[in-house]
């Protein structure tokens, strides 16, 4: 692998109360299979907890997953928490059941990329690699 894999530690997190973690677990496992070191928070994390873990564990990227429709409030709250903790340089990716029209405002709020249902895993891995290189 020619990529720079020094910074390959990433966080997969589920903000809010949503228990649908099939997607988050698949992404976590695919990232591990691809050589990343993955920390998965488990379900029901607050935005503050996610930001703290990201900082403590010194991760290169955060991947958020939500299927409950709470992404607008919850994803942006994670960005706000990172800013509050002066860690806004950690890129944040998001995935889940997210309507197309929500993507521009989420990107404006600072989410680097959004992946909806049916996205090939290879695209998501690619985005994590890219984000790590930043």
């Amino acid at each position: 692998m020619s990529r720079d894999m020094k910074k390959k530690r990433v966080l997969i997190a589920k903000p809010g109360l949503d228990g649908h973690d099939r997607g988050a677990k698949i992404i976590a496992r695919a990232l591990r299979d691809d050589g990343f070191e993955v920390i998965y928070t488990g379900i029901r994390q607050t935005p503050g907890e996610i930001a703290s873990v990201a900082i403590q564990e010194d991760v290169a990227v955060i991947g958020l997953s939500s299927l409950s429709g709470g992404h607008m409030r919850l994803f942006t709250a994670v960005i706000d928490e990172l800013k509050r903790m002066s860690a806004e340089d950690i890129p944040v990716l998001g995935g889940g059941i997210i309507p197309d029209e929500d993507i521009p405002p989420l990107k404006n709020a600072g989410i680097a990329a959004i992946f909806g249902p049916g996205t090939p895993i290879s695209d998501i891995l690619e985005a994590f690699h890219k984000a790590c290189e930043k």
């Binding site: 949503d18 228990g19 973690d21 698949i26 379900i43 409950s68 309507p99 895993i121």
Partner: protein, 549 residues
């Protein structure tokens, strides 16, 4: 040809009794050419193997269905799961569905409600009213069922950890409508074990959760004899990525735990087992799904008879609700989902379901619009009234493939249940992560097949096209959260706070002891104590479950 004595016996007992209680929908079922459609096709030669493994509908081991006339007698209940935003909004949707011919209600609660948080709890941020209706107190429940006569509709509530609280609110609303608890029909999901492995809305650890469930069984035996006290659910296990065999095995293994804990609490098997219901997924492999439903029915009947010594046929019958598989819906070319749902719904009907929810085409994007929900309901109505599959019982029986697959699913599920027992039972398996790992492996393997193109998903990894996604979507207004929080604070000011406090104190003492908690919860909800207040008392005494990773 001579009739087999067992056939005569069935005709003279189960069938005759059923027909005299309620006749079939038509006097004669005819095809387009005017020929009579047979009620129950049977093999030319009925050997012991047939009698032992298939038998007759409405008779042990119920492979061919739980009622002697199946859909010739009564169609399944068309029950569309719905709920979003506020109680008032959801009430409107329910009344629309009832107007459109839905025959039972199915309430979706939002996540804060399902996890026992009020809408003003910091944990509820962003989730209020999103995946279901938000309920803070009896006041919301009164709005939810406004002008819906609870003596006429049956209501299914997808509520688990705080099921006792929502059930108590339902009873209290009925009382205000002048409907006695004995008259209430419906189901509460009340299946916490699958929450730990698949669905995630747990609150308390397993032991106190089982106490609450057993308390409900007991209380309903005395007060709500027509209500299903649990719906043991494989649906979410399958959605989390399990195989068909795992879905059957984990669900029936969980059901055994509930039965065992009720027996240990002193209940007699035949007094409560008849009110256990099940809930399965109808996924895309049509023939495998039909075999799965038949296998689950037979395996459960055998477990109930052989392991638990249940004598009443009602205790041995696996009655189930089905929902089509949400995870198979695609965000691409969403109208294709209508076809997927049709095939899945057909498998549920060919498998003998008692009630059915059909998903809407737009649910990979968001909550369904009214138009999408109507198409989903129409799909069921077309299967029921046009396809003809309802006119003869268990039409796929006797197919070499279906029967061999039914046998194989039963055997493999039985082997997996045995393995769980050997590993120390369901709760030990959850604590060790065995069940979670099994599901996760199956889910990952499936995804890899999709990634590699071995498994085709139309519109996703084959037959793609550029599309302009401008379908109108249903959105829950973010203002709903603020509105609900405002209403809650008004309620807290207006209610008799001394009565609330005293009912909560009594509940706390009862929770510390070993009394049945239902009467205390019922008292508390009637004072307008909130769901969050009641659950917080229980959290204090029972503790909270944390997933170990």
């Amino acid at each position: 040809m001579q009739k087999h004595p067992k056939q005569k016996e069935w005709e003279e007992n189960e069938l005759k009794k059923s027909l005299s209680r309620s006749p079939e929908r038509k006097e004669r079922f005819l095809n387009h050419g005017g020929q009579e459609i047979t009620r129950l096709a049977l093999p030319q030669v009925m050997d012991d193997d047939y009698i032992h493994n298939l038998g007759f509908p409405g008779q042990y081991p119920f492979t061919r269905g739980v009622q002697p006339t199946m859909y010739r007698g009564r169609l399944w209940t068309m029950r569309q799961y719905a709920g979003f935003s506020t109680a008032a909004e959801s009430n409107k949707r329910y009344r629309y569905l009832l107007d459109q011919g839905t025959t039972g209600l199915s309430i979706a609660f939002d996540l804060p409600t399902q996890i026992g948080y009020d809408s003003d709890d910091p944990m509820s941020m962003g989730e209020v009213g999103k995946v279901g209706v938000t309920i803070d107190s009896l006041a919301d429940m009164e709005t939810l069922f406004h002008e819906i006569p609870l003596d006429k509709v049956s209501t299914s509530m997808t509520i688990n950890s705080p099921a006792a609280v929502l059930l108590a609110m339902y009873v209290a609303v009925a009382e205000k409508q002048g409907v006695a608890a004995e008259q209430l029909r419906g189901t509460i999901q009340n299946d916490v074990l699958k929450e730990y492995v698949a669905r995630g809305t747990y609150i308390f650890p397993p032991t106190p959760s089982l106490r609450l469930i057993t308390n409900i069984f007991q209380w309903c035996s005395d007060h709500m004899p027509a209500f299903n006290t649990i719906s043991v659910s494989g649906y979410h296990i399958r959605e989390a990525g399990s195989t068909a065999v795992q879905e059957v095995a984990f669900t029936l293994a969980n059901a055994c735990v509930y039965i065992q804990s009720a027996l240990e609490a002193g209940l007699e098997i035949d007094t409560f087992a008849g009110r256990l219901a099940f809930f399965f997924n109808a996924s895309s492999d049509l023939l495998e799904e039909v075999a799965k439903f038949r296998a689950a029915r037979r395996l459960w009947a055998r477990i109930m008879k052989e392991r638990f010594g249940a004598k009443k046929p009602a205790s041995q019958m696996l009655r189930f609700h089905t929902q089509t598989a949400g995870n198979t819906l695609t965000a691409q070319q969403i109208d294709n989902n209508i076809v997927r749902v049709t095939l899945q719904a057909l498998s549920a009907v060919l498998g003998g379901t008692q009630s059915l929810h059909t998903n809407s085409r737009d649910e990979a994007l968001t909550l369904p619009t009214e138009d999408s929900v109507r198409i989903a309901l129409r799909t069921q109505q077309i299967i029921a009234h046009e396809s003809g599959v309802v006119n003869t019982i268990d039409p796929l029986a006797g197919s070499y493939y279906i029967e061999s697959l039914t046998d194989r699913i039963e055997e493999q599920a039985q082997a997996l249940i045995k393995k769980i027992d050997e590993l120390g039972g369901v709760i030990a398996c959850i604590e060790q992560g065995f069940i979670q790992q099994e599901i996760e492996d199956a889910s990952y393997n499936y995804q890899k097949e999709v990634e590699s193109g071995d498994r085709i998903v139309v519109g996703v990894n084959a037959f793609q096209m550029k599309e302009d996604r401008t379908t109108p979507l249903l959105r829950v207004d973010p203002a709903v959260e603020q509105e609900q929080v405002k209403n809650l604070s008004r309620l807290k000011k207006d209610r008799d706070s001394r009565a609330v406090q005293s009912s909560l104190d009594q509940l706390k003492r009862a929770a510390q002891g070993s009394d049945n908690l239902m009467p205390f919860i019922l008292e508390a909800v009637k004072t307008y104590a909130t769901l969050g207040e009641i659950c917080n008392i229980l959290r204090e005494i029972f503790g909270e479950y944390r997933d170990r990773r």
